[in-house]
């Protein structure tokens, strides 16, 4: 799955560690999601959507 997390993060000047802290997950989790190696669960995707104030489909899209 593709995602725009690196761009959204860059807009806010957040590091992977900052985003991980806001989500309550490890930095490795954020890295794995951003690189498309790990697909987040629905609750985590909703958490990301709420955090970035964007709909889920604006953050994640099928390859």
């Amino acid at each position: 799955m593709k995602n725009s997390l690196p761009d959204l993060r860059a807009e806010r000047d957040w590091s992977q560690g900052d985003l991980a802290e806001k989500l309550g997950v490890s930095r490795q989790s954020v890295n794995a999601i951003e690189t498309g190696k790990f697909d987040p669960s629905l609750p985590l995707a909703f958490k990301l959507a709420r955090l970035f104030k964007q709909p889920i489909e604006a953050i994640f899209s099928e390859k």
């Binding site: 309550g24 997950v25 490890s26 490795q28 989790s29 890295n31 794995a32 999601i33 190696k37 790990f38 987040p40 669960s41 985590l44």
Partner: protein, 152 residues
């Protein structure tokens, strides 16, 4: 910094690592109760050999107790892993741990199968079958590090 590095462990991970370490120590201790395996304790205290194998054979009750004792570290490890997986909030780490545990089980079962075939062919006991817990802990640990490395 890698996951499960002492510096960045969460309290839950720290507790689980402690329990797993206890299970590993218990495994080593229970290995020392198994007659027939190389046992440094028997070398230091030769009298222990007569306690576990009087007349060359373990009494039925003692054999039953020894076999039940060897089960303890496995039960402790499974309980600790289940407790950890139930409470770990990070789904990515949970997925890594589940995969590592599956690899650990797979390698242990594969080792047992090979040991079983060898026991059948050579008609003699092969110690790997009673070192299941050791094999499981070592293979799970290696599998976790390898899986973690694959996500870099």
């Amino acid at each position: 910094m890698p996951l499960f590095c002492r510096k960045n462990l969460t309290p839950l991970q720290r507790r689980t690592m402690g329990l797993m370490s206890a299970a590993i120590i218990l495994t080593i201790l229970t290995n020392l109760t198994i007659p027939g395996l190389p046992n440094p304790l028997v070398d230091v205290f030769p009298g222990l050999a007569r306690l576990t194998t009087p007349n060359g054979h373990s009494p039925v009750l003692l054999a039953g107790v020894l076999s039940a004792v060897s089960l303890l570290p496995i039960l402790l490890a499974v309980w600790a892993a289940a407790r950890y997986l139930k409470s770990e909030p990070d789904e990515f780490i949970r997925a890594l741990v589940v995969r590592a545990l599956l690899w650990g089980f797979a390698i242990t079962m594969a080792g047992n199968t090979v040991a079983g075939v060898l026991m059948n062919i050579y008609a003699r006991p092969f110690p790997l079958a009673i070192l299941n817990a050791d094999l499981f802990f070592v293979s799970t640990g290696f599998a976790f590090r390898l899986i973690q490395w694959s996500y870099r």
